[in-house]
Symmetry: C2
Subunit: 464 residues, 2 copies
């Protein structure tokens, strides 16, 4: 017999489920972007029951202590029931190590297995950090579609926040973005090895939000469409000079040179990426027109017709926006155009602790209000803002699908903990963009008195 604690009514009732039954997943319906990933159908449908027991715990690779086999105590069940309510009573059940169920199995779209008393205590004490830690270690297991379960948890949190008028307090980020620290932050993420990223990125290794011109576009097509979308917005003309701040593996810089006939200075702090980009440029005979520079964007000099930065602002830190604005102002010709492509927020809020610690040290997705520090004091006008949030939810979902297929190879490169950590990061990112917890802003700007640009955006949507 299993105890079922319904946080909706607060009552503890008797058993609901029989041993071997499999419950079909209810349709969540309104996230078409996730339904489109046909290759994710290989993930088995959720089996809410049978519940985990001492003999077989799905995905549990951590050694178990004797205490993990004991019954849960009353205060532990009260605690987890309280936590379930705190996060907005999501349609996700929590199953304790002894089989106790919290939540409503009838309407659940997934389940979280707390494999040990210590996992419970850690998650209650410091959910921001411990949820990811316990998932990575296997002490916390998620059954069901990972993105959908995380999306549901995320929505629950939003509901709870609205109801109680809780707002995440605005904390100043204390991360350092000195030249040296920025280098080590970049290295933490981007120097994991090109072979690792080749397993699940598109063939051009574009590690930023893609642009899906239609719902059937592949990741490869969507990344090329994104590069063109950026170039069209910048209205690049043959022979112009462009600076690319934070160029990744070089796909955008090379695309601009190859297709739009511009010359590019491309900056990046990651040595591995720069090396890869240089070889790529050489293999295409573009080395004379695309210069890859292993340096901080803050050291750039000269004047350019266009300034582009795709996926770097997240790492710059709001305290440096005015400085970056001044730099862009010095770097742009009187008729120059600039485009900043960045993950963002609807309102200022720091990155969650787990992602900041393990995935993106020093990162901060800014709100539009915060981004204005780039433009307001540097003589720029914002010409255009486009929010591509749903495109990033889909991009992350596409990455996740490829990643899940390559997990055996990732395990050979790193370890199980790393495999699970990155799976959680990709799934949680997709969920955050799908929920509107994260945004993706493309901001186009030019000098205040630049009257040389076309008056409408029609040209961006005309075929070549």
């Amino acid at each position: 017999m299993q105890q079922v604690v319904d946080t909706g009514t607060g009552s503890t009732t008797s058993t609901v489920a029989s041993g071997g039954a499999t419950t079909a997943v209810p349709e969540t319906g309104n996230i078409p972007l996730l339904d489109k990933r046909s290759d994710r159908e290989q993930v088995p449908p959720i089996s809410l029951l049978p519940l985990p027991d001492a003999e077989s715990r799905p995905g549990d690779r951590a050694p178990r202590s004797p205490s993990d086999l004991r019954h849960s105590w009353s205060w532990e069940r009260s605690l987890i029931q309280w936590l379930h309510r705190q996060v907005g009573s999501p349609r996700v059940i929590i199953v304790l190590w002894d089989g106790t169920i919290v939540g409503r199995p009838q309407s659940a779209i997934g389940q979280i297995n707390m494999q040990s008393p210590s996992a419970l205590r850690r998650v209650v004490w410091n959910p921001d950090l411990a949820f990811g830690d316990c998932f990575a270690s296997g002490e916390l297991e998620i059954q069901g579609d990972l993105v959908e379960v995380l999306t549901e948890l995320n929505r629950g949190l939003s509901r709870a926040g609205e109801r109680t008028r809780l707002k995440t307090p605005w904390r100043l980020s204390h991360s350092s973005h000195s030249l040296a620290k920025s280098k080590s932050n970049a290295s933490h993420h981007y120097d994991l090895g090109n072979d690792f990223y080749k397993l699940w990125l598109d063939e051009q290794l574009v590690y930023t939000c893609a642009y899906y011109p239609h719902s059937n576009a592949t990741l490869e097509e969507a990344q090329v469409a994104k590069l063109d979308h950026v170039c069209r917005k910048l209205r690049l003309k043959h022979g112009e000079h462009v600076v690319d701040a934070g160029c990744g593996w070089g796909a955008l810089a090379l695309h601009m040179a190859r297709k739009y006939g511009v010359s590019v200075q491309a900056y990046n702090l990651s040595g591995e990426q720069i090396q890869f980009a240089r070889q790529w440029a050489e293999s295409e005979g573009l080395s004379s027109r695309v210069q890859f520079i292993e340096d901080d964007y803050r050291n750039l000099a000269g004047q350019f017709d266009a300034f582009v930065s795709v996926g770097m602002l997240e790492h710059v830190g709001p305290e440096n926006y005015r400085g970056l604005g001044s730099l862009m102002s010095r770097a742009l010709t009187p008729t120059g155009r600039g485009l900043i492509h960045s993950i963002g927020r609807n309102a200022p809020r720091p990155l969650d602790a787990w992602t900041e610690k393990y995935i993106f040290p020093g990162a901060h997705p800014p709100s539009l209000r915060e981004m204005m520090d780039l433009f307001e004091n540097s003589g720029f006008s914002v010409l255009d803002v486009e929010n591509l949030r749903l495109h990033y939810a889909r991009t992350c979902a596409d990455w996740l699908a490829r990643y899940e297929q390559a997990m055996d190879r990732v395990r050979q490169m790193f370890d199980e903990r790393f495999v699970r950590m990155w799976r959680l990061y990709l799934a949680a990112s997709s969920a955050a963009f799908a929920n509107g917890d994260l945004q993706l802003f493309q901001v186009l700007f030019a000098r205040t008195n630049n009257n040389t640009l076309p008056w409408t955006r029609v040209d961006w949507y005309q075929d070549d």
Copy 2:
């Protein structure tokens, strides 16, 4: 003989110009939007010389006192020389009542005639207010293309500001936007009489920035294109319910109902406009679907599929943005869309004193940063921002051209002072948008977790 004071070198030299010569206007070149106004060619080309003298002063309709006939004093010439430098030594000469020239006639594109010592003193003492006051009274006369001269003055001011790192200090607006005060503010401007606006607006009386899909579009075409541009952004569907906050004479509300099959609740504080709009709706048989309400938008109730406000936010006051955000949040269905169309700034700055006093009491064009108060605290995501600054420069230029042709009739309705005041307002507005001193932002938004909208903007640019 005339004294020429060159503020560039600071030296006072002897006579340059002979009596009857006419100097051609140098090309300013980079404001194509102003060159397109073929009907403005009727304005005579600038005649820098002959200079005004005691017998014939162009446009001088004010009675002259004996002191206006005396020679200028040395300190007056120093003062005006200082002022010319303070505003960035623009390519505009200042001619005093006794014929003294300040600035460089060789490169001037226009001239300002100070018709009296008192005009000089007032402009130096309080330029923000007195420039417009003296222009309206005729004590200060401008020769040359009014928009071009104002544009040049505006640019000079910007240059001066950059050089000296002067920033207009951020002052809190003390204007009241209570329900009663908002009503009287609106009445001041919009209740001047429909006949007055009919003289120079388009045939549908759309008194906001038009959208010129191509450079040959007429004002009429551009206003219809704007209405459609707004409706497309909102993705209106047949049968939906829309609220229009600040509906003017009703063109947008009626266009939405007529062409997109929606029903509309349209709010406006101006009794004259509402009366006109109701009659128009009746004449088209649209009264059942478009309800014109003479009330403050803050009193609206109910839920709508779209919230649209074109040219009202300027009158709301930043202290009310959070309140408007809450109201929009209450007013929109879960899948509702909102669009705010407003004059704006690159950075927070109060309206100039003259416009605030005579033209738009209580108005404040917000920066994007300020506008975020509408969205950040109300659960909205900004989906799209478009800056239509150049369209508004052209719109104002088109209005001005029609206005100038109708000035005799305006004079019959009001008086000479009014005629000149509104001519200055329209010309200065065109110049401010051309210079980037003012912006025009269209901001599209929806609830944070609304995933039902198309992923791209392609549909806005496809033909019907």
